[in-house]
């Protein structure tokens, strides 16, 4: 069983190599390979989760080098659950993106650029979840980040480059901080292995330990977009293609949350910075949701709710009790799914109406009832309406807050209730504007191409006016450079969606079925947390107990 542990990282990486060797050819085969590998990762993750639940944490020392020299990968309950949820979500988003690419008759960019970068992203995320030492965590972050740079700026249009620069620079800075923290940790403890650090950091002077904790928390807070360090997120996420934004919003911030969860429980038990974290959590919740109230673009609204709801997880981590950690883990799983789903729906809306600007949308409940249902369920889930999983997570966290007592915990409980209500308000606002009210006059005709993504070439205009009607040869000639950044030519007349190249959007009243199916499956995944609420909370409580006990992890890595 232990031999399976490295596979979620290795499989996508190897397949990426194969795909890069094949290049932008054999589209069907390539699509199949991508789906198959992510499906395999999902199966592996479920197996790892079950095995970790039955037999305790699994660990592998790569190359059989014992710590502190070798690279250690560990899969315990928390890592198993995170892997499972993340691979399920990445698989769904891949299906969605395939649907989008096929609908656009645009195979070059997805297969040539998107798929390899996406698979590397998946490998990086898996690597961070499985990492058993700080350096490997850092490497996992970097794999993920470099892939995310490519995905965020795919198409290389002005808006995306601008948004991407902010993201790249912030990520670069946090990486540098992380590396400094690693250097300091090594200087203090002589190891970077989590299990060894857990033992050795106890003997380190308190001041030094707190400094290390603060450094690592800062790094992870930047990744997780906790309030004072979250300004980059709403700037950079909304411009990316819909599937990319969805997977970023779902996964990348949660990787930061996961790292916080891991280091706070394993390396720094006794949470000296707990009050600071509580303050940051409260500020994230309130500032984030107030930001969402002020926005009028759906993608930006969702970005701000993302920041706001990170606060819930930080709240759970800061209390560091069994109940709160369990609540935080449930919330992470719930939030990955729901946030991704909402961004996928935003992508569908953009496809249908050419915009996600709420002031220009309307009447969708009547015109597209299926889309309305697909939005409504995760929106209510996010707000935490009782039978849904958001409620289970929030309930667990609030109960833990009340049990913990103290003025800070009570303030947080009040803050999270207020945030929950404000989230409901924001979602109701979106619902009313985009779905419930009558369509604004002069709604666009079917097949009209909107310019909400920018055109940088004047020649595109006449081309795009014809939309889907433009047959082969109707464009400005074959092989014109559409600015993919990869220099891939796009066949003339093929309508390029903002999905991948950011050039223009073809609105279509009939949404491609793979996109709808993927979004529907994501909604169903979100609902399944409610149906499986009992087993899920049992599992997360076991995971929280394991985190707090620390010995199972240490013994699994270092041996008894």
């Amino acid at each position: 069983m232990n031999a399976l542990v490295p596979l979620p990282v290795l499989l996508p990486l190897c397949v990426t190599g194969i795909k890069l060797a094949i290049g932008p050819r054999l589209h069907r085969l390539q699509r199949f390979i991508s789906l198959a590998v992510l499906g395999a990762v999902l199966v592996l993750s479920v197996l790892l989760m079950i095995a970790a639940d039955r037999h305790g944490p699994l660990s592998v020392h790569l190359g059989d080098f014992a710590p502190p020299v070798g690279i250690t990968l560990v899969a315990d309950r928390l890592a198993g659950l995170m892997l499972t949820v993340s691979s399920a979500v990445t698989l769904l988003v891949l299906v969605y993106s395939l649907g989008q690419g096929m609908a656009d008759r645009d195979d070059q960019a997805p297969v040539g650029v998107f798929h390899p970068a996406y698979l590397i992203l998946v490998a990086g995320v898996s690597c961070t979840f499985l990492a058993g030492d700080l350096v490997n965590l850092y490497v996992g972050f970097e794999i993920m980040l470099v892939a995310s740079f490519v995905l965020l700026t795919i198409g290389g249009t002005a808006t995306r480059i601008r948004a991407g620069s902010t993201y790249v620079i912030i990520s670069l800075f946090s990486s540098v901080l992380f590396l400094i923290a690693i250097a300091m940790t090594y200087a203090v403890a002589g190891t970077v292995n989590f299990a060894q650090l857990a033992q050795r950091l106890q003997e380190v002077p308190l001041g030094v330990r707190t400094l290390l904790e603060a450094m690592l928390l800062t790094v992870f807070a930047i990744k997780a977009a906790v309030f004072p360090l979250a300004a980059w997120l709403p700037d950079s996420y909304p411009t990316a293609p819909a599937p990319v934004t969805a997977v970023f919003a779902g996964l990348l911030t949660k990787v930061g949350v996961y790292s916080m969860l891991r280091t706070e429980t394993l390396l720094f038990p006794g949470h000296r910075l707990g009050d600071l974290l509580l303050l940051a959590a409260l500020a994230s919740m309130l500032v984030g949701i107030l930001g969402a109230v002020a926005q009028t673009d759906l993608k930006r609204v969702l970005s701000f709710t993302l920041i706001s709801h990170i606060g819930y997880m930080v709240f759970g981590i800061a209390l560091a009790a069994r109940g709160s950690l369990s609540g935080a883990i449930v919330y992470v799983a719930h939030h990955i799914t729901v946030q991704t789903t909402l961004f996928l729906v935003a992508g569908l809306i953009e496809r249908r109406d050419g915009t996600t600007e709420l002031t220009r949308l309307g009447g969708l409940a009547k015109a597209a009832p299926l889309l309305a249902v697909l939005f409504f369920v995760p929106a209510m889930n996010l707000a935490g309406i009782p039978p849904l999983s958001g409620f289970i997570g929030k309930l667990g966290l609030m109960r833990a807050g009340i049990e913990a007592g103290g003025s800070w915990a009570w303030a947080l409980v009040a803050g999270s209730a207020a945030t929950s209500l404000l989230t409901l308000y924001v979602m109701a606002k979106v619902w009313n504007l985009a779905f419930w009210r009558d369509a604004p006059p002069g709604a666009e005709e079917e097949g009209v191409v909107l310019e909400s993504a920018e055109d940088d070439e004047p020649g595109d205009d006449e081309d795009d006016e014809e939309g889907r009607a433009a047959g082969p040869g109707g464009g400005t000639g074959p092989g014109r450079d559409t600015g993919t950044g990869s220099g891939l030519p796009v066949p003339a007349g093929a309508v390029v969606a903002a999905g991948f190249l950011g050039q223009s959007i073809t609105t279509t009243k009939r949404l491609p079925w793979p996109m709808l199916a993927a979004t529907g499956a994501a909604v169903a995944l979100g609902l399944s947390y409610t149906v499986l609420g009992g087993p899920l909370t049992t599992f997360t409580q076991a995971a929280a107990t394991e985190l707090l006990a620390r010995t199972p992890y240490i013994e699994a890595v270092l041996g008894r």
């Binding site: 470099v146 601008r162 790249v168 709403p234 673009d297 930006r300 004047p458 205009d461």
Partner: protein, 254 residues
């Protein structure tokens, strides 16, 4: 463990220089900052070994406790490779930015400016209303001319916001020149046939002219852009628009 002070001082200097460069707007400078910062941090990682000893190679008669710890070196190597990849990406991004917008500077976020503009709009509107009410209270009733002026002023204000929205919805290339991007070309500049942005019309000191080279400032370019949304078919205002958009809010009631 003893650490060489010179390593730490060098690392501190490199980090300071890198961080300073990282705070600039030009991507090329940021790139240099990233390189310098990466080197500074690598020195820090090496410093965590302690004082240098023998080379970490296994050969006969080696005294093991005098050998340098190889692990930080491995970490530094990993970091160097990663810095290289990031640098390559930044470089290509700077080049692409130069290709698309004519400069490698990072401009402000459109949405941020919109929020600022909205706040300004609300302030101006409140001010207008207050003045109108004051005037009405003084005269004891609004005369038609005054009301018309008030309405005209509000209309101008609204049009400005609508134009900004239209601009923002197009998500156009942003040149970083607030004046040209939000308010359109300065009418006086245009009449005199001056090159756009050659004067400091933006009220934005410093490197503004360098950034103005973006294609969105070319009046012909903007005119060519499609705009199929109803009711907002005036992207940027026509250059010879009579009213001064900057003072639109308050002028009407004076």
């Amino acid at each position: 463990m003893t650490v060489s002070l010179s390593l730490l001082v060098a690392a501190a200097v490199l980090n300071a220089v890198g961080a300073t460069l990282l705070l600039t707007r030009s991507l090329t400078r940021i790139l240099l900052g990233a390189v310098v910062l990466g080197n500074g941090v690598n020195l820090l990682v090496l410093a965590s070994t302690g004082s240098a000893g023998d080379a970490p190679l296994l050969y006969p008669h080696i005294i093991r406790n005098r050998v340098t710890d190889p692990l930080p070196q491995a970490i530094a190597l990993t970091a160097i490779v990663i810095t290289l990849a990031t640098t390559a990406f930044l470089l290509s991004m700077a080049y692409r930015s130069h290709q698309v917008t004519g400069s490698d500077e990072i401009s402000d976020d459109t949405e941020d400016r919109l929020v600022a503009l909205r706040a300004e709009f609300l302030d101006r509107r409140g001010e207008l209303r207050d003045r109108y009410r004051e005037a009405r209270a003084e005269d004891g009733g609004a005369d038609a001319e005054q009301r018309a002026r008030y309405r005209a002023a509000r209309k101008r204000l609204r049009r400005r916001v609508r134009e900004e929205r239209a601009y923002q919805a197009r998500a156009n290339e942003v040149s970083g020149n607030l004046w040209n991007d939000i308010l359109g070309a300065d009418p006086e500049d245009y009449r005199e046939g001056r090159e756009l942005g050659s004067t400091d019309a933006a009220g934005r000191p410093g490197p503004a002219p360098a950034r103005i080279a973006g294609p969105s400032n070319d009046p012909e370019e903007t005119g060519r852009e499609p705009d199929s949304r109803p009711g907002e078919d005036s992207g940027h205002p026509p250059p010879d628009q009579p009213d001064d958009p900057g003072g639109a809010g308050t002028e009407g009631t004076r």
